[in-house]
Amino acid sequence: MSEKVLMKGNEALGEAALRAGCRHFFGYPITPQTELSAYLSKKMPKVGGTFLQAESEIAAINMVLGAAGSGVRAMTSSSSPGISLKSEGVSYIAGSDVPALIINVQRGGPGLGSIQPSQSDYWQATKALGHGDFQLFVLAPSTVQEMADFVALAFETAEKYRMPAMILSDGMLGQMMEPVVFPNETEIHEGDKSWAACGHKNARKHNVVNSLYIEAKDLEKTVVERYERYEKVKANEQRSESYLTEDADIVIVAFGASSRVSRSAVNAARAKGIKAGLFRPITLWPYPETELEKIVPTAKKFLVVEMNMGQMIEDVKLVVGGRKPVEFFGRTGGIIPTPGEILEAIEKM
């Protein structure tokens, strides 16, 4: 039993959040994620939830820290410049071991950039969304269906490992409409919240949600323990999709919106007799290195396609380790590459 509807990606994120039991959304208007806020502002009051338009991105992420720190499923969404503003709060959320969901519907950068789709926040999401040693669990959907499916997965993974999660989308996926199937009843698997600061009810010692350790050795111990958890995330949570890679000479590596175009390019190349394939990382952190590694011995060349100046290519090169050539094709500034451009790049290899 399920329900099939035609929806914008941003709205699918909102509907999926409600179905995942999220009742607390804090945001600030920014294009191109607007439909998500608008959707939740309509729906949240009807389910007794909180939709709060904060005074800034900074306030919104700190409201998430408060709500999630008190044990509820809480989320915020923004687009690239707004995510930069949230980076302070994200660092505190990670440093306080609080699970929360941050959605980035990427647009062109740096600065105010453009409002068109982009993937130029890959480094920010996977390497450095804020100061300090920490990681986010980062999911990169490529369809509206995945936008919907990844919300509950992001919450569950965040709670399981007590870390922030991000859905790294973009303006194309956010704005486009596709059919999306929602199961009639979503089972909610909420993680342990015994650490939350929601009042001890005179029944336990006080809980403290905190990222400050005045003794360096205490901070080191905490960070090392956190990284032991990250190792488990790396071992258990890598996700990817391989398309026609088994016999491929040329393997395109692309995620999100650029993977959709790349798939068309692969089909066009196959029609021309070129053995092309596509490897699509779904988790950007942890990077799906195990599955990518399996392709390295058989592929002759890799072509990394991104909507930026070349960011994920570094992770691909780390896995390939110099054994095969890794080339790059990208468009940036808010431009989506065409299948023809990518096919041309394949043919040049």
Partner: protein
């Protein structure tokens, strides 16, 4: 003989890290007494800010969240919206509340966020070693105003209670001090009222406590009290700037 004064239950039995004569300790006690008297320790969630009171999470026995600099009231908003039954308070200094956190402060206030805000105004950044605060007085010598705060270049001090009292969402904006037994007792009443307002769902309550910083003022504790009386109180007059319970005919 009966015990007529002792450490309140909501105050943890650990030594404070504050400097000798620092009035943070008095205000901590008043907050803890209010929590005790209202019987809300089990429901209370405190938000510690950044500054000398950053370790407040160690000093209160209720649940605590440590917030980024200036963001305590946004964090408090998140907790309160998620758990309206919780009694949520922030404890912030002048740099935290009136400089880096001005935006969060003003908007929590104008939303009428049903929280209690304890604001320590001692006209200086204590934790970082005595830099100019948004509330440093004209002419005041600090580490970053070594020739005295020149209002031509460093601007004027900010009077938060007066400013916030213009906002419709504010239930209580009151300035108190802790320089004497009489004033401490008045501060206690104001703080308790700020918690009662929240329990009664009246909205945003802020109590500004004009405080000392003997170390960074370079004064002995008794001299710091005198400096507060001579310099701070004329610029920051004590009083009730807004009180909706009084407007509704309640007790003052």
């Amino acid at each position: 003989m009966a015990v007529v004064f002792e450490k309140p239950h909501a105050l943890a039995d650990v030594p404070f890290h504050y400097c000798p004569g620092c009035t943070h300790g008095i205000v901590h006690r008043l907050v803890a007494e209010a929590i005790d008297e209202l019987g809300v320790e089990g429901n209370a969630v405190g938000i510690a800010s950044v500054g000398c009171s950053v370790f407040a999470y160690n000093y209160f026995n209720c649940d605590m969240i440590q917030s980024p600099h200036g963001r305590a009231q946004a964090v408090a908003t998140g907790v309160k919206r998620a758990h309206p039954e919780n009694v949520v308070f922030t404890y912030q200094g002048d740099g935290d509340l009136a400089a880096i956190g001005t935006c969060e402060t003003v908007h929590a206030a104008t939303r009428g966020e049903n929280i209690t805000v304890i604001f320590i105004n001692n006209a200086i950044y204590g934790m970082t070693g005595g830099q100019m605060a948004p509330t440093s007085l004209p002419g005041q010598i600090t580490q970053t105003t070594p020739y005295g705060r020149d209002v031509k270049t460093a601007g004027y001090p900010i009077r938060m209670c007066e400013m916030l009292s213009t906002l419709d969402g504010v239930a209580l904006a009151q300035r108190v001090t802790v320089d004497s037994v009489k004033h401490v007792n008045e501060a206690k009443k104001a703080i308790k009222k700020a918690f009662e307002n929240q329990i009664n769902g009246l909205g945003y309550s802020i109590v500004e406590v004009v405080s000392t910083c003997p170390t960074n003022w370079g004064l002995a504790p008794a001299d710091a009290i005198k400096w507060l009386q001579d310099n701070m109180l004329p610029y920051y007059p004590l009083g009730v700037y807004k009180d909706v319970t009084a407007q509704q005919g309640g007790e003052q």
